[in-house]
């Protein structure tokens, strides 16, 4: 019995260490972003907002944040509309080769992203999309469709099809049935797919690195090119902003999934 206690204690010790290992780095970057020192010391000798003022005062950061937003919104919306439509068709329509189509739509998730990046860089240069907002939007839409498809698809499987049949029997057109019966039921999943898509677009680095130029540069690529030079806490401030954006999305998602009665992966 003594042996079991030792093993349990060891297991819990490992858990605590792993929890610290997972969380501590992010927390430390958060704290350093408010440091008064011009280098990345911890703990900071004093506090200041100067690195956030740096971001606001630096046109390069503002420009790249603006690029990220202009890519994130259209890409997220396009991926949500196309992904939801595809999920609906794959779940409700009779499609020859549905499994193969599903495989193609999910492929960007499985294919290593460096391959997608190199491939898109190659053809985008030929198509004139290299270094354009349109090219970034197109790439991010492709990369985020799988997330919408799997989220909305899972939700559609839970919707009772007899409700849609009832609407059809009562004379609703397929569009009316979708609009007034199906869509309200899957709305939490659609919105969480949208959030997912926008966060992934905002955080995306590898593909953006290949297909963007110094003129049209999303914030992650800007951060990447700065990390390799002189690092001051401005980068920590940018990292904090990116982190808070993801955290806010996660909170919205978890509130939505609870109110929508949808099960989170762990509940």
């Amino acid at each position: 019995m003594q042996q079991v206690h030792i093993w349990n204690a060891a297991r819990i010790a490992v858990c605590i260490l792993v929890a610290v290992y997972i969380i501590a780095p992010i927390v430390i970057v958060l704290i350093i972003s408010f440091s008064s020192a011009p280098f990345l010391t911890f703990p900071p000798p004093g506090w200041s907002m100067q690195w956030y003022e740096n971001i606001v005062g630096n046109p390069a950061w503002i420009r790249s944040l603006w690029v990220s937003l202009r890519v994130m919104l259209p890409a997220g919306i396009a991926a949500t509309v196309l992904g939801t439509a595809a999920a609906f068709a794959l779940n409700r329509g009779r499609i020859p080769g549905a499994a193969a189509i599903n495989g193609i739509l999910m492929a960007p998730l499985v294919v290593p992203v460096i391959i997608t990046a190199a491939a898109l860089f190659g053809v985008f240069r030929i198509w004139g999309l290299y270094g354009t907002i349109g090219g970034l939007i197109l790439a991010h839409t492709v990369l985020t469709i799988p997330y919408v498809l799997s989220t909305v698809g899972a939700s559609l499987q839970l919707v009772d099809r007899r409700l849609e049949d009832a609407a059809a029997n009562l004379g609703a057109t397929p569009w009316m049935a979708f609009r007034s019966v199906t869509l309200p039921l899957i709305l939490p999943a659609v919105l969480s797919g949208l959030l997912f898509a926008m966060v992934i677009s905002f955080d995306e680095l590898v593909v953006s690195l290949f297909i963007s130029t110094p003129v049209v540069r999303p914030v992650t690529v800007q951060m990447w090119s700065n990390i390799r030079g002189d690092v001051d806490p401005t980068i920590a401030a940018i990292a904090t902003l990116i982190f808070l954006f993801s955290l806010a999305a996660l909170l919205v998602e978890s509130v939505m999934s609870r109110s929508g009665g949808r099960k989170t992966p762990f509940s």
Binding site: V4, C15, A89, I104, V111, A119, T141, A168, R228
Partner: protein
């Protein structure tokens, strides 16, 4: 029958997404595949170069070795974590879930940057270790394989914990009770009853972590050594600095083939399904 017509019409809703993926994903990947066999001249010479020259073989071997080590460490850290999540009370479970989920939602770049700060010779970790007198000189924790592993294990841990958690939470507790009632001491009972039941989760988690590691770029590029690179960095370097499309396309296809092979094997042998978002 009218409803059949309606159902078939609804099927067309998949067309826009499919057209987009064919044009802006499938075609570009095929374009890359063609480059590997046609740049600068037709033939398999790019593959021959990638698979015969010592420098490229070393990079491919590095990739497998780093991915393997990442997988093993993720399993060693992830199993106790998932086990504790399953057997903890509701409050502790919720906290642990958020501890795993929050980094999962955080940009890889942000997390890698955090390690860049912590692992410096004058970074926090060396400061602490020097401060408590555990080491006399700063450890070399960054720009080498140690740094890559520290960063990659932390970032990929959720992909191990998610599938493990879902399998472990479905294991029927009465098996362990039965083993105990039949006189098995707890530890042998764990290794002979519980562990075998959890193997599907172990395989899924290991496969996910290994496959994702194979194509990793950001973390090894920032935390790794210049002479100890992985295949994704080599692909980027060949395109960015040398414009060598043929060789980098061949390396990309070798990476893709390796990924697909492991995926298929895992699927055929263990029935693993690709649940990326658990």
């Amino acid at each position: 029958m009218p409803s059949t017509v309606i159902r078939d019409r609804r099927a067309w809703l998949v067309a826009p997404a499919l057209a987009l993926l064919l044009a802006a994903f499938v075609y570009p990947v095929f374009w890359l595949l063609l480059r590997s066999a046609s740049d600068p001249v037709w033939g398999f010479h790019n593959y021959a170069t990638a698979l015969s020259e010592a420098i490229y073989l070393k990079v491919l071997w590095n990739t497998v070795a780093i991915s393997g080590a990442t997988t093993i460490f993720c399993l060693l850290f992830g199993y106790p974590m998932a086990y504790t999540m399953v057997h903890a009370g509701p409050a502790a479970r919720r906290i642990l879930i958020y501890i795993v989920l929050i980094p999962f939602w955080t940009s890889i770049l942000v997390r890698t940057f955090a390690w860049l700060v912590l692992l410096q010779p004058k970074g926090l970790i060396n400061d602490i270790l020097l401060g408590i007198g555990l080491i006399a000189r700063p450890l070399e924790l960054i720009y080498n394989r140690t740094g890559v592993l520290i960063g990659m294990v932390q970032i990929l841990l959720p992909f191990m914990v998610f599938p493990l958690f879902s399998v472990l939470s479905r294991i029927d507790g009465s098996y362990m009770k039965a083993a105990a009632n039949l006189g098995a001491p707890p530890l042998p009972a764990f290794f002979r009853v519980y562990l075998p039941l959890s193997l599907p989760g172990v395989f899924t988690g290991c496969m996910l972590v290994f496959i994702i590691s194979l194509g990793y770029f950001i973390t090894p590029a920032l935390l790794g050594g210049r002479r100890d690179i992985m295949v994704a960095q080599l692909i980027q370097e060949q395109i960015d600095q040398f414009g060598d499309w043929g060789l980098s396309a061949a390396l990309a296809m070798i990476l893709l083939a390796g990924t697909a092979l492991i995926f298929t094997l895992a699927h055929k042998v263990f029935g693993v399904k690709p649940a990326i978002r658990a």
